[in-house]
């Protein structure tokens, strides 16, 4: 009696395991499919694309689509590929990430270790900035950038990304520093250390993980931005997301899907690399900052 029961259970158990694994693998295929299709398409000739289907292997393996996507595909009026826009994005991302991270770190330090009257209210008001739909600031910012002479410049986009990124970086650092015992700060103060010295010598050396999380979060957010790029960039200063969209959606004539896919992979590669190399920190940032969406 007992034995047959056990045997039945283990049959059921293995069927269950089989179903669970089949479902999980099916889901994995669903998530991988677009990436596989993009890669396959980017190495095919147009003739090959028309003759085969999404997952057929290239009959002839070509890298011309990649070269064309990088250096000669038409993105609107110009036909210089997405290469120069890739570097535009780099020029926007690097300063914007560094500035917003540094400002966020020192803000988080003040908001946890040097609280003053109204500092909690200040933090609450700032937190609200993480939630607003950016459409509600687009028009005034456009006018302000015009007045400052920063319209259609890389510097203008850096300013915008810093302005709306600081709320996030502050949130990250505040939530990290709030768990650091204030006794450390008090002890250092008794030893005569001042505001900046305490930050530099005590807080900063233990901030490694949160700095990585913040930098990764900001890099992905700013690299992937399209809204600010399309509104405040134009022509030579557009980021790569805008160039990719122009390449795919505004170019006239024959649609070269292989070139589109190569350009899309180029645009996605930096953030994908960040994810593969530092997935743990990426996920941590998502959960901490996911409110931004």
């Amino acid at each position: 009696m007992v034995n047959t029961h056990m045997a039945q259970r283990s049959w059921g158990f293995w069927i269950n395991r089989g179903i669970i694994h089949a479902l999980l693998i099916a889901a994995a295929l669903f998530y991988l499919l677009p990436l596989v299709v993009m890669l396959l398409t980017s190495f095919k000739t147009m003739g090959d694309i028309r003759a085969g289907n999404l997952i057929s292997l290239p009959a002839e393996f070509v890298i011309e689509p990649w070269i064309k996507a990088w250096s000669s595909a038409c993105t609107g009026v110009k036909c210089e590929g997405v290469g120069s826009y890739f570097f535009n994005s780099v020029q926007i991302v690097v300063p914007a990430v560094l500035i917003s991270t540094a400002v966020g770190a020192i803000n988080g330090y003040v908001l946890t270790k040097w609280r003053f009257r109204g500092s909690e209210l200040f933090f609450g008001l700032l937190l609200f900035g993480c939630f607003i739909p950016f459409q509600v600031v687009l028009l005034p910012m456009a006018q302000t950038l015009g007045w400052l002479g920063l319209a259609n410049t890389t510097a203008g986009l850096v300013l915008v990304h810093v302005a709306y990124g600081v709320a996030f970086t502050t949130l990250f650092f505040r939530n990290f520093y709030v768990n650091i015992p204030s006794e450390l700060v008090k002890a250092a103060q008794l030893d005569g250390a001042g505001f900046f010295r305490i930050f530099w010598r005590i807080l900063l050396p233990i901030s490694g993980p949160i700095i990585v999380v913040t930098i990764i979060w900001q890099t992905t957010q700013i690299w992937n931005d399209f809204l600010f790029g399309v509104v405040y960039g134009s022509g030579d200063t557009q980021p790569i997301t805008v160039a990719l969209n122009n390449l795919v959606n505004t170019s006239t004539g024959i649609k070269e899907y292989n070139v589109h896919m190569a350009a899309a992979i180029i645009a996605g590669l930096p953030t994908l690399l960040v994810y593969v190399l530092a997935g743990k920190y990426f996920v941590r940032g998502l959960t901490a900052g996911s409110v931004k969406g």
């Binding site: 997952i55 896919m261 899309a264």
Partner: protein, 306 residues
């Protein structure tokens, strides 16, 4: 409380240097404070003011009261935009939650390759919506995309042209958006599952409850907070959805897949009706606030206690 002690220590010991120390923290956060007042609150008010003017190609300040809002609600394109948001947002949130919780439960069954699978499920979240949109636009290409793939597999009459069908195009946005975000929802639920106290489950097992029953009656209900925050995050993504629409359909065919965000962009920056664009932006803010104020309230109360 203890956080204020350094400050008190500074006050007590007196001296010019220490009194300066008292001002340094405030001076350090002052730039952020000013930026916040201008770039967030000032601009919201400014947009509110613009929404009450007849601004067209350039901002003007002749006030017309609530006229732009009246025009907005008489505008069939706006009606399409917010109806689409309800449809797109509703389906997107619902499907993401269902897929997310189910995959988290499956992945929580001591799967040997869990790390690899999790990495695969989550990578779309690292991509820009423009890249996602470009990929799915190609996958859904009528003629060369999935339609051809299925036909090549032997189903000669298979047809899948939703992306160019005004009635169905909105659902293609749901597919792509779910592909991008559901892995992340899964990760949230998985973290929630890992936080559940095992002894409750063991006790239920001792009482002879079956696993499906334990999941349905004990585990899923205890994930309520995760459902709540995932809902907030997903609705926030839905309301702000702009890039994906621009990349996949450009709001078309016609304006069949317009969302409030694309409506706002089109009217403010390409159709020269800034007043109307500002009014639509204010309504978007209103929508976000209606969802977020209760959440933000509980969140702030939580951090203060913590």
């Amino acid at each position: 409380m203890s956080a204020e002690e350094p400050l008190q220590a500074a006050k007590q010991s007196g001296g010019l240097l220490q009194r300066m120390e008292h001002w340094i923290p405030k001076m350090v956060v002052a730039p952020t404070f000013i930026m916040m007042l201008v770039f967030i609150y000032g601009y919201i008010i400014w947009t509110g003011v613009l929404s009450a003017t007849n601004s067209r190609f350039l901002p003007s300040y002749s006030f017309v009261g609530g006229l732009q809002y009246e025009k907005l609600f008489d505008n069939p394109r706006w009606e399409t935009a917010y109806t689409n948001l309800g449809l797109f947002g509703g389906l997107f949130i619902l499907i993401c939650l269902i897929i997310g919780v189910m995959m988290a439960i499956l992945l929580d069954q001591k799967i040997r390759r869990e790390g690899v699978l999790r990495t695969i499920y989550l990578y779309p979240m690292a991509l820009s919506f423009i890249v996602t949109g470009t990929a799915w636009k190609w996958m859904l290409n009528p003629g060369l995309g999935l339609e051809k793939l299925v036909r090549d597999m032997g189903f000669e009459n298979f047809s899948f042209d939703w992306i160019v069908d005004p009635d169905m195009a909105i659902y293609t946005l749901v597919i792509a958006a779910v592909w991008q975000s559901s892995g992340f929802v899964m990760a949230m639920f998985l973290a929630g599952l890992r936080g559940i106290d095992n002894s409750i489950i063991q006790a239920a097992q001792m009482d002879g409850a079956s696993m499906p029953r334990i999941y349905w009656r004990i585990i899923v209900p205890s994930l309520r907070p995760v459902f709540f925050s995932a809902f907030i995050i997903l609705s926030h993504i839905a309301i702000k959805s702009f890039d994906l629409v621009m990349a996949m359909t450009g709001g078309g065919p016609g304006y069949a897949t317009d969302l409030p965000a694309t409506f706002m962009y089109a009217h403010s920056f390409t159709r020269s009706s800034i007043g109307l664009g500002a009014a639509s932006a204010m309504l978007m803010l209103g929508g976000v606030l209606a969802i977020l104020i209760p959440y933000l309230y509980s969140e702030l109360r939580g951090t203060r206690n913590g």
